[in-house]
Amino acid sequence: MSEEKKVIVELNENPEYIINMGPQHPSTHGVLRFEVSLQGEMVKYLIPHCGYVHRGIEKMCESLTYPQIIHLTDRLDYLSAHMNNEAVSLCVENALEIEVPERVKYIRSILSELNRIASHQLWWSAFGMDLGGLTCFFYGLRDREKILDIFEESFGSRLLHSFIVPGGLMHDIHPNFKKGITDFIKYFRKKLPEYNRFLTGNVIFQARTKGLGILSKEDAINYGITGPSGRASGFSCDIRKIEPYSAYPYVDFKEILYTEGDTFYRYVARMDEMVESMNILEQLVDKMPDGNEYTAKMKPVIKLPEGEYYQRVETARGELGVYIVSDGNKTPYRLKLRTPNFSNLFIMNKLASGFKIADLVAISGSLDLVIPDIDR
């Protein structure tokens, strides 16, 4: 056989077919590129390329004061904005050894839990839509609007509030705050069984997600997969239980743990978390002290003493860590953000190899990635 014919025969027997999923793609929910190598419809391996939304937040923070940093941390994982703000505020307060009033602790935890429910509602809408059930998008967002109305009444903005600042809160909450939350809980408890009727019990959904993308507990710990994705594999990583902060020591709730670790149980873990968040909210609203204090006494210029400080917080997607190295000035010397989505992304190759492209969409949807959190 001639040289040319040999090469053509070889290429025909072992074709390497690489396509790009992204950076613009409706299912990646953000600017992320997957370089997928295919054999027919089956994925052989997958390389994620991130960095399209890299804004240099860590470098910017080295020239900003601590209250100014709050506005940047909002934009990391924008669906858990309050929890990001809380992480930096708690780090600064622990460094300065300031104690915030009890009422502020309760309001911070209430906002975190409301944000968690809103984030999971948006995740559910997008996940259902990715798998083909377009109606899920409308139902989830309709119910999320109730939470965004509560936020807009108190803070003026729907998504990025920059409300939790070092020392306490930016200003006091609206008088209708408590009533808005109790009304929402009554409303959403009736709507959540609808969600289960839509997807959880649906035969097609179960066939598409059960037994898919199984993550073992050792892999979850080794790769640092936290949040509901890790807890569905049995990795007990809830920071609200390990190192409780704000008002979490005062409430009673259970950590949602499963052992199967496949796509279906990552889904069920998030649905159960929504129910658990509503239980926590009821307890917090009940116990919240009255009054109108919203901040502790702070100096006008915040300077952290020399040293290093680390704070861990549970966002909707996993463990967020804030590491501040200070040399005594009013700007940090080094600020490192350990974001949950950065660690969660790189398990995609191991989970999706050997499955079809449609399964890749289901797996990346169940990991719930928000891309600006990966790139910072």
């Binding site: 991130c50 080794n222 990583c237 040293g307 860590g321 590491y323 490192k336 790189f346």
Partner: protein, 153 residues
């Protein structure tokens, strides 16, 4: 395990460890040639079992660099901070722990991308966020200059 007990066990495993002042965690400086073996011991020893690396960062101290590892144990609940110094500013290099903790593979790529610290025996040492054609340097270093995009205060 309490901090005092932890401190004794660390000294028994590695006598050259120096301890820093840190209110939150037990903070250890480790010489860079003994670092890889020590970290492997920390993960595999039965009474320490530090199996979860939750943060890997690089800090630029102008005369040298430091890599900071935050480790914790999912079995016992204790945590540690390890610090490794590089010998200088030119061609800084540290051993990679990507074979011990799988998450370190990507955190180390990020540290290389933004600070220029190479990790030896890393399976895939190349830039992560920035383009391969970015030759202007390493942005997170303190001496990085960009006339157009960065305003010095």
């Amino acid at each position: 395990m309490e901090q005092e007990q932890l401190k004794e066990k660390i000294i028994a495993l590695l006598p050259e460890a120096e301890f820093n002042v840190n209110k939150q965690y037990l903070d250890i400086n480790v010489p860079s040639d003994k670092m890889h073996a020590f970290v492997k011991l920390l993960k595999e020893s039965d009474d320490l079992k530090l199996d979860y690396l939750f943060c890997l960062s690089g800090v630029d101290w102008k005369t040298h660099f430091t890599i900071v590892y935050h480790l914790t144990s999912t079995f016992f609940g204790h945590s540690l901070v390890l610090k490794v110094k590089t010998t200088g500013r030119e061609n800084p290099e540290v051993a990679s722990v990507a074979d011990i903790y799988a998450t370190a593979e990507f955190h180390e790529r990020e540290v290389y991308d933004l600070m220029g610290i190479k990790f030896s025996d890393h399976p895939d040492m190349r830039r992560l966020f920035l383009d391969e054609t970015f030759i202007e340097g390493f942005p997170l270093r303190k001496d990085y200059k960009d006339e157009i995009n960065i305003i010095e205060r």
